[in-house]
């Protein structure tokens, strides 16, 4: 196992300096994620206008993987249409859990590529949920609007 496969510079950078790390006072959608195994908590905020995501942000605390994953997620999802965002989630989830490649439309390939450093978790089964926590919260927010409950990574 080479740790640098997991903790690539881009991961460490996003973990130390997470992007869009704040609440959104005018969020139209939000959801809380909690991994009870490690205590990681994340809240994902979204402002959805018409059929696209105008803004995404997050708050919370967690390990380097979960923080970097949430941070990268906010960057790649901003500006996407709802169907594109859902496709990104499905594709990312498959890559880090089963290793399956789900092709995304040509416009999204570059964004999907930005998530590649996170796929190092596949060889660390205990850490996969760290990478997916914020994404599950995003998915729940997308589907449920302002979500009061807490999303688990199951």
């Amino acid at each position: 196992m080479d740790l640098r496969e997991l903790y690539q510079d881009v991961i460490l950078d996003h973990a130390r300096h997470p992007r869009n790390f704040r609440g959104l006072p005018d969020a139209s959608h939000l959801a809380h994620g909690h991994n009870p195994l490690c205590g990681d908590r994340v809240t994902v905020f979204m402002k959805i206008e018409a059929d696209h995501i105008a803004a995404v942000s997050f708050e919370g605390r967690g390990c380097a993987i979960s923080t970097a994953s949430a941070s990268l997620m906010t960057e790649v999802l901003t500006g996407l249409s709802l169907s594109q965002a859902e496709a990104m989630f499905q594709s990312f989830h498959a890559r880090v859990t089963t290793g399956e490649t789900i092709a995304v439309e040509a416009d999204l390939e570059e964004a999907a590529e930005r998530l590649e450093p996170l796929t190092g978790v596949r060889t660390y089964p205990a850490r996969v949920k760290c990478a997916t926590l914020a994404w599950h919260a995003f998915d729940a927010a997308l589907k449920g609007g302002v979500v009061a409950g807490i999303v688990k990574t199951e």
């Binding site: 196992m1 740790l3 903790y7 205590g39 990681d40 908590r41 967690g62 993987i65 205990a126």
Partner: protein, 412 residues
């Protein structure tokens, strides 16, 4: 120089490690998660196979000699546990799946019989979930009040605050003997003395204590003592509940089935005296035999020697860890044995545990089944290193080197 130091000097973890096949099969393994479950000595692993090959049949049933032999070995295991904790009689030892089942048994049987609505059960802030949730069930079922004895500034039990909680309403104090997160040794003699003065019974969770501290339940005068075999170098699925015979006699059965009855008609059944009353169904026979072998293994090393070794090693670990910049030892000032929890500034315990794993250092990271304690300490998680008879200073060296490597990777 006192005697315990002489014993510690003679203690040889490296020789003991050769008795544990896991280390030969996993070269370089630095196992620092014994508080979660201990590794198994060869005598336990091979002894269980030997029992199945030589003496196996169901217990307490057959007229044939093989069943009698199996029963004899099972009851011999009970006798060994009795000796190990110095109970007065074999009938005071009930075999259970582990400490969790032992606590649930007491809550369901004793707890629903004696306390009344408004009576109080006191637990500490340091409890494992297994000594919290069964009492919450009892609270919701019969309306007892659950009181929480807090930790003090040093991270150990605040004895004065505990004493202030005691009253005539207190029916039970259920407390850990050694805290699983911090390794803190609770002042259980004081706890028992104060509780008894108010007429309350005392249950001790001995999961972390029994493998490390010589325990004499009669000298302690506790009313209940529970433990898990798998933390005692024995197999999973077996554990023990000690209770004073008069208390066991007063308790109704909690599970019905074979072995616990005297007579059964469709109208009515009558029940065996303890311990059979609390052991419905075919027990974990091989587990009990493995536990017997594990206890014999521990006794062959010497319990005072183990205590001295683990106390010295834990102290050494605290000192070494505290010397690393950014490392904070949880409850650093508390009396402890066997475990040390710590955090590293800027480094999440799960990231740390992953780095440690790549250095072959196995530790536990998370809330250690003690979320209320974590909340109290204002922590989401910690990293815990814990020790066994096979642990030595080279394990601490490896831990410290791996923590330093993690600090380098994360630049903290």
């Amino acid at each position: 120089m006192n005697a315990s130091i002489d014993i510690a000097a003679a203690f040889d973890p490296i020789a003991l490690r050769r008795e544990f096949p896991i280390f030969a099969r996993n070269p370089g393994l630095v196992f620092l998660d014994t508080a979660a479950s201990a590794q198994k000595p060869r005598t336990v692993i091979e002894g269980i196979a030997d029992y199945y090959s030589s003496d196996y049949a169901n217990v307490h049933r057959g007229v044939y000699r093989l069943s009698a032999r199996s029963t004899e070995r099972f009851e011999q295991a009970r006798h060994t546990v009795r000796r190990f904790v110095n109970a007065a009689d074999d009938s005071e030892i009930v075999f259970v799946r582990g400490a969790t089942e032992g606590i649930n048994l007491v809550a369901r049987s004793w707890g629903t019989t004696f306390p009344r609505s408004g009576d109080e059960v006191i637990i500490s802030e340091m409890e494992h979930h297994s000594n919290i949730v069964p009492w919450q069930f009892l609270r919701d079922q019969i309306g007892i009040r659950l009181r929480i004895a807090p930790i003090g500034a040093d991270g150990g039990l605040d004895l004065d605050a505990f004493a202030a909680l005691l009253s005539e309403r207190t029916k039970l104090v259920a407390m850990t003997h050694v805290a699983n997160v911090t390794g803190h040794i609770l002042p259980v003699r004081d706890v028992i003395r104060l509780a008894h003065a108010k007429g309350a019974k005392v249950l001790l969770d001995g999961c972390q204590a029994l493998p490390r501290i010589p325990v004499d339940v009669r000298e302690l005068d506790c009313d209940f003592y529970v433990f898990s075999g798998h933390k005692l170098y024995g197999p999973t699925g077996i554990g023990g509940l000690y209770a004073k015979r008069a208390i066991l006699d007063s308790m109704p059965p909690w599970q019905g089935g074979g072995d616990m009855i005297e007579t059964v008609t469709f109208e009515k059944s009558t029940f065996q005296p303890p311990p059979a009353r609390f052991e419905a169904g075919t027990p974990d026979i091989s587990g009990a035999i493995g536990l017997d072998l594990a206890i014999n293994f521990i006794e062959s090393i010497g319990r005072e020697a183990i205590f001295a070794h683990e106390r010295a090693l834990t102290k050494h670990a605290v000192e070494r860890l505290a010397g690393i910049p950014g490392v904070r030892v949880v409850a650093a000032g508390a009396q402890r044995v066997g475990a040390v929890s710590f955090t590293v500034d800027g480094l999440h315990p799960h990231d740390l545990a992953t780095v440690l794993d790549t250095h072959n250092v196995a530790v536990r990271a998370g809330h250690h089944c003690a979320q209320p304690l974590m909340d109290r300490l204002g922590l989401d998680a910690t990293t815990r290193a814990s020790f066994g008879v096979y642990s030595d200073e080279t394990d601490i060296d490896a831990l410290v080197a791996a923590v330093e490597a993690a600090r380098q990777i994360f630049g903290v």
